[in-house]
Point group: D2
Chain length 295, copies 4
């Protein structure tokens, strides 16, 4: 049986680790808040006292952390987890981070005989719970094959998209599209409301045509119901859009719609809504349109 | 058996009329180009020499025309089709036109005892051929019920969204979302290309997560294959976005992303690409990014 | 002495008519509110009981009205002022209206032997008071020469820019630039405030370099002082930006920055700020940035 | 007589150093290309073989370098110029760099008893030649007073805007406004051309009203004449807009118009126009509008 060390048991990592337990893996997890470790233990896993302890003796180490600096702090540097891994271990970083950090991580792993994948996910908390995540994987093909059973236990659409960093690049593109689509749907909903159209019925028919999207299927009802409990927080999406815009700038790619979405997501955060679900873009379109939310 | 008069047998109207024949309706069709009428005859319908002839004696008259002025010219005014309809006839305009014209049409119909629906569609040529269109219907509930069997024969998701004009309002929202999503997907595709990612694989995994959309499912492959044969022409989408932006302005709704998409679709047209499929927004993102298409 | 009929004695028209009196013209004015007519009488002009009365016997008729429909209502149609003008009269419309309406007016005038100029102005209330307006004139060169002394009495930079409608086209371009520049200055001011810079000093140095503009010179101090008493109202600028975006769309010209400014001006109006000076774009940037105005 | 060490004798630094010589300062200059040093010698200055040599014994050291890394490389680090400066020397960095780098430089100077100013300029090559630059100065008031005679010799509008870094923040705001104004003017010029208006006359009248700006005064004629010889290169403006957007993001300030301008400037560069004057934004508006330049 494959032993897995799982570092980062938050909104996403928690249910993913539980699904790995369900799939029969031996999972040892670590998180800074002990109650999240306890939840894994309740689900049949083991708890560890530190990230290094969780990784100790694991065949596969999975990390699911908030941002690039977290990944660097836990894995790299003196006393970082990577230092303690035996050659032949596989390290799967499922966090959403900068592609260049993912490439650095892969290089550092290679120097120690550790195969590294960048394997960020899309699908949200529900996808994590249901083990239906989309996983976009960058790294060596042989490492991908080795990690495949682990990925299969948490995701449904799992695609090897290229060399180290490619997974994060695709995730960046994912976040660009999601932010922009949320904004478009928010604009459409306010537009429909202003014209007195029954929005639930409108969403139903929009979802069936070329305007249909996962955002419309999974987010529009909560937006109409003014339920902005995350889900995926504005703060995190703002962070990700910083990655997208920097990477587009670096590559000389014009993303006018993506840049606008990044500006609007940043404004939502600046207005104090960083802890809401990103569907709260609706609030901002309402505000710009002088329409107070009908409670 | 219900007799249907069908006016406008183009890319969309042609296959829709054929599906009505298949469903057992007696369909008499008219189009300005005789070869399109002949196609309906070949499919088992009848041809008419004029719009008025097609409508003569019909229980339900369906119109599928390019733009507001066409609908006004054919249906309203002296010698317009509406003038010749018997009270009790149902008129279903499935064109995409201005909501205010749809409301005028409904009022003109009401004055003559003719029930009028605005019932624009989404789903494109393929949806018309497969009878899987989404249909957004505005008008009286009783008229909707009367027309329901006809709509069932050409569509799959058929929703009564409100009073006269509401169908066109929802279609306007549909076109806003579609244009914006195409632009976002175009930006993502150029972004991925610039970073050396395998785009077919990327599209596969993007389609499985929260970035997933009908645009990604039905359009991305053609965009990657540089197949811009319409489909839905830039010229028509530009026309529709004129309706959206005017209706948003009128209602005081801020649609920054929709407005940007309208600007970019207009630019694509101004650059001479009006006859291409709207997926050609890709060409413009490439051009702005200084990337020549790799053939 | 040239007799002038002046129709529209509002914020702009009032001081302009008074300046014509000062310059020695015999001015007969009309406005719907009698107190504005009285002000002209106090300044040495004559009052008229109707637009037609004001125009009666005038050598030059000047109109300064809010919008295209006002100009059409007063000048065209049965009993419109144009109908009553003697051949050889010159009609100078200084309102900001649609270029196509200006062209119609010129054609209608030509049919009656009346020379028509479209001569919209820039420079605001202060420019009207100081007789330092910029005037952009469309129409026949001979008509321009005939009206020149009248224009000289109210403006400083007076340029014949082309045939009928050209004045309005240039005014549309003017309004595009002004709205966009106000937005840029608003963004810069909030940016500087967020970084703790002394904004009065910053404006002083910005005004001296390539960022310098009439907006910075004439508007920034009021914006910093939170004085949004018009000046030029958001409602009117919103109306003008509707003209700009329609004319750009019609001509196939991409104006992404202009369109964005139009969206943001429309949002300001939708938020209930239509009666404020257009410098109130500052309020919206502050709101988007989650910064409450420091009173 | 004050001895000045001047590092960076390019398009801007060259004429600035020459103006200091004219004003009676003893100027020792360094540049990597010897012919630029020779030009200073021809103008009455002295040449140095290295940056450190230029700074040796100077009362005031001025740097005018392309970007943040250049400033860091020359001034900071082992063997950097700052290391060799005697306490009491004043260091005036007139480059356009990141505000945080300016603050680091000030702190490093303070630790050595060297007063540091960030004093970026606006006004372009012509302003450098004519000694009419706008200079936005951050740093201690006493240092500003000490450096004042030097600044007076190269600029006209010289304002102390705040503590270290404030000069660069104001310069960032300057670059935001300039880029956006250039884009607005480009859109207006293409708009006017599409409507057949005489653009030189239009510029004349626009410049006299609220649309007037230094951009219109100094750039529009070259743009109309299709003269895109820099002046200020797209590459450099693109670099500066990276500073602006990062600083706005960091401070949570929404700059939608600034972001759009940054996207469009980046696109211009990606299309291979990095070496043209930033007025070349006109080319891109023409391209988006499908209008080929009339040569």
């Amino acid at each position: 049986m494959t032993a897995i060390g799982f570092i980062g048991l938050g909104v996403m990592g928690g249910p993913m680790a539980a699904n790995l337990v369900k799939a029969g893996f031996e999972v040892t997890g670590f998180n800074r808040s002990p109650e999240k470790v306890q939840r894994l233990v309740d689900a049949g896993g083991r708890g560890a006292a530190s990230a290094a302890d969780a990784a100790e003796g694991a065949d596969v180490v999975v990390t699911m952390l908030p941002d690039s600096p977290d990944v660097e702090a836990v894995l790299l540097g003196d006393g970082g987890v990577l230092d303690g891994l035996a050659p032949g271990t596989v390290l799967v970083d499922m966090s959403t981070i900068r592609p260049d950090v993912a490439r650095s991580l892969a290089a550092a792993g290679a120097a120690r005989g550790v195969g590294v994948l960048d394997a960020p996910v899309s699908g949200g908390e529900q996808g994590a719970i249901d083990a239906t995540l989309s996983i976009m994987v960058g790294g060596e093909a042989s490492t991908f094959e080795a990690a495949r059973p682990v990925l299969d236990a948490v995701g449904r659409t799992i695609v090897h998209v290229g060399p180290p960093g490619a997974g994060q690049t695709v995730k960046a593109a994912n976040q660009l599209i999601v932010a922009g689509t949320l904004q478009l749907v928010a604009e459409a909903l306010v537009f429909l409301d202003a014209h007195g159209v029954d929005r639930s019925r409108a969403v139903e028919v929009l979802a069936g045509g070329l305007a249909g999207s996962a955002v419309l299927d999974r987010k529009a009802a909560a937006m109409l119901g003014r339920n902005f409990r995350p889900g995926f927080r504005v703060d995190l999406h703002h962070k990700d859009l910083g990655i997208v815009t920097a990477a587009a700038r670096e590559a000389g790619v014009a993303i006018p719609a993506g840049s606008l979405a990044a500006t609007l997501m940043g404004a939502l955060r600046a207005q104090g809504h960083g802890d809401l679900d990103h569907g709260a873009l609706l609030l901002q379109v309402e505000q710009l349109s002088g329409r107070s939310p009908e409670e």
